[in-house]
């Protein structure tokens, strides 16, 4: 039987990049082997520890992309080069790359699929944001199809509106997605309608990260260990997918209440 030591190991912040007014990418000094879709736990001593996608990688370095929400993410965004954070992971199961795929992301969910796009640059990438100010990684992915809710840049629609006609034409065999869960649910339903496989990266309140505490459950699955990426077969069995999530206490609430009650 394996017995691994799971503890945060400090990593130096090397560079902090402004992606958008409330979104920043932190480059950390850390060698790591990971699959796109896996995540790491980031620790700020005496404050808290939260899951983040590995949003980019370079030799000896990984990056995380942070959106300002609560005390933890605010402190993380204030980090300066030379400061350190704890890192453990990577955890969970990532995306399974297959031919004829497309990627669709919303908001900071783009951070989760960015390394997948880099690994498979031929896959089209559809991205939705509320407004032009929240569009990130434009230089990194020049071929990204950008949609905004208010039309301040790109197409004025949801990215699912751009995906739909191409699914109808049978262009894709698999769709990878990460973003607000309501969007992912819409993507999944669209895929089901057209008989296309969907792989979605879910987010739930996380504690241990390695399948012991049962906090991040969705259906009978553990987002930390069985996920965070689930395929259509698993998603079909999850009543809670696109509907409810659990607060830190374990209380089951609507996705809206969950988003409002998040403390990250």
């Amino acid at each position: 039987m394996r017995h691994t030591v799971e503890q945060p190991v400090m990593a130096r912040v090397m560079e902090v990049l402004d992606d958008a007014p409330e979104l920043r990418t932190l480059w950390l000094e850390r060698k790591m082997k990971f699959q796109p879709g896996q995540f790491v736990m980031i620790w700020i001593p005496e404050l808290d520890e939260k899951p983040y996608a590995v949003s980019a990688q370079a030799p000896g370095h990984i990056a995380i992309t942070v959106r300002k929400r609560g005390p933890f993410s605010t402190r993380l965004m204030e980090m300066r080069p030379g400061e350190t954070v704890g890192v453990r992971g990577p955890y969970g199961h990532g995306f399974v790359p297959k031919p004829n795929g497309a990627i669709i992301a919303g908001g900071c969910g783009l951070a989760m699929v960015a390394t997948l796009k880099e690994a498979r640059p031929e896959m089209p990438l559809f991205f939705g944001a509320k407004t032009a100010d929240e569009v990130i990684y434009r230089d990194r992915f020049p071929d990204m199809e950008v949609c905004t809710d208010d039309g301040t840049t790109g197409y004025r629609c949801f990215p699912t509106d751009r995906l739909r006609p191409r699914l109808e034409r049978g262009e894709f065999k698999v769709v990878y997605t990460c973003g607000p869960e309501v969007m992912m649910r819409a993507v999944f339903d669209l895929c089901e309608k057209h008989g296309v496989e969907c792989q979605a990266a879910l987010e739930r309140y996380m504690k241990c990260g390695f399948g012991l505490c049962g906090q991040c459950t969705c259906g009978d699955q553990l987002v930390c260990q069985d996920g965070p990426v689930f395929d259509s077969k698993a998603l079909r069995r999850m009543e809670e997918f696109g509907r409810s999530a659990r607060l830190k206490s374990g209380q089951k609430v609507t996705l809206k209440q969950y988003a409002d009650g998040r403390s990250c």
């Binding site: 039987m1 394996r2 017995h3 691994t4 030591v5 799971e6 503890q7 945060p8 190991v9 400090m10 736990m41 620790w43 001593p45 005496e46 404050l47 808290d48 520890e49 939260k50 350190t84 704890g86 996380m206 504690k207 241990c208 390695f210 399948g211 012991l212 505490c213 049962g214 906090q215 459950t217 259906g219 009978d220 553990l222 659990r246 607060l247 830190k248 206490s249 374990g250 209380q251 089951k252």
Partner: protein, 304 residues
């Protein structure tokens, strides 16, 4: 074929493994999955009167010889819990509830509602080492408090009561005796030990957000075996031996010390949910090799 079934307070378990409280027991569906993967019985995550967010992260970490945790009894509270576990009919193993409180009155207020759910028994952890207001930090692990709380809950339920005891007491037999006198039907021995602490030497800070936490896993096992051995000599009621069991040999050792059933917790970290079936298979193999037909013959074998 060896017979792995045991009777615990009249509850029939297909094998002696019991998923310990605090491991995966947050929802009905996770209890079902753990039961379906081979656990002899499963325990829910402890419920308190009001909802609790628990401690910030990190709450659970591992070290070379086990695990350390300070989760802090996060749970959605009594009312939500009554909804979550209202129907347990599709779960293929006996289920145990776990109730916590800040005093005897709170224990009985929660227990008298929880007893109406289809759980086979109610466990009372009087021994958590890392949650202010509860367990050892509230003095619940003394013989006096153990008697008082057990007796209070005895008044509100006819179901078997398991009292979960701390290994951090000088005379654990006295605590177990107090539980027995208070009306306990079994002793769960033991809860996590400590609290212990892990410090990140680069950050120069304790790693758990609560700084200290209960120690479980391999490091706890010899302590747990000794506690079970001591308790077996002191009380007549059965024991659920819990602490660091991760393979069939460990489970057999625990039963020889005096356990009727064997709690499994940290081993899920190492072996996943399949660990219950794995332990049962290994027990069966050992029994076949050693000509033991019924696993119940092993209970207390080290005392004879």
């Amino acid at each position: 074929m060896a017979d792995l079934s045991v009777s615990l307070c009249g509850i029939k378990l297909a094998n002696p493994t019991v998923m310990a409280s605090g491991i995966l027991g947050t929802t009905r569906l996770l209890l079902r999955r753990a039961a379906a993967s081979g656990a002899g019985a499963v325990t829910m995550k402890s419920v308190s009167l009001l909802s609790r967010g628990g401690h910030p992260n990190p709450t659970i970490l591992s070290f070379d010889a086990g695990m350390i945790n300070a989760v802090g009894y996060s749970n959605p509270g009594l009312e939500e819990t009554l909804k979550e576990f209202a129907d347990l009919s599709d779960i293929p193993a006996p289920l145990f509830a776990s109730v916590v409180g800040q005093n005897a009155d709170e224990f009985s207020r929660v227990a008298e509602r929880i007893t109406k759910l289809p759980f086979a028994a109610i466990e009372l952890p009087l021994s958590c080492p890392h949650t202010p207001g509860y367990g050892t930090l509230a003095g619940q692990s003394t013989p006096e408090a153990t008697f008082e709380i057990t007796a209070a809950v005895r008044k509100v339920t006819d179901k078997p009561i398991f009292v979960k005891v701390s290994p951090n007491v000088p005379a654990i037999g006295e605590v177990a005796s107090a539980a027995e006198k208070g009306g306990a039907s079994a002793i769960t021995a033991v809860n996590s030990m400590g609290p212990g602490m892990l410090i990140n030497i680069e950050a120069r800070r304790p790693m758990l957000a609560f700084k200290m936490g209960g120690v479980t896993g391999a490091a706890l096992r010899p302590v747990a075996v000794r506690c079970v051995y001591d308790i077996y000599k002191t009380v007549k009621i059965p024991i659920i031996g819990t602490g660091g069991v991760s393979c069939g040999a460990h489970a057999i050792e625990m039963m020889m010390a005096g356990a009727t059933a064997v709690g499994v917790g940290s081993a899920v970290f190492d072996g996943g949910m399949g660990v219950f079936a794995q332990i049962a298979r290994e027990m069966e193999d050992w029994m076949d090799r050693n000509g033991v037909e019924k696993v119940e013959e092993l209970i207390g074998a080290a005392h004879r």
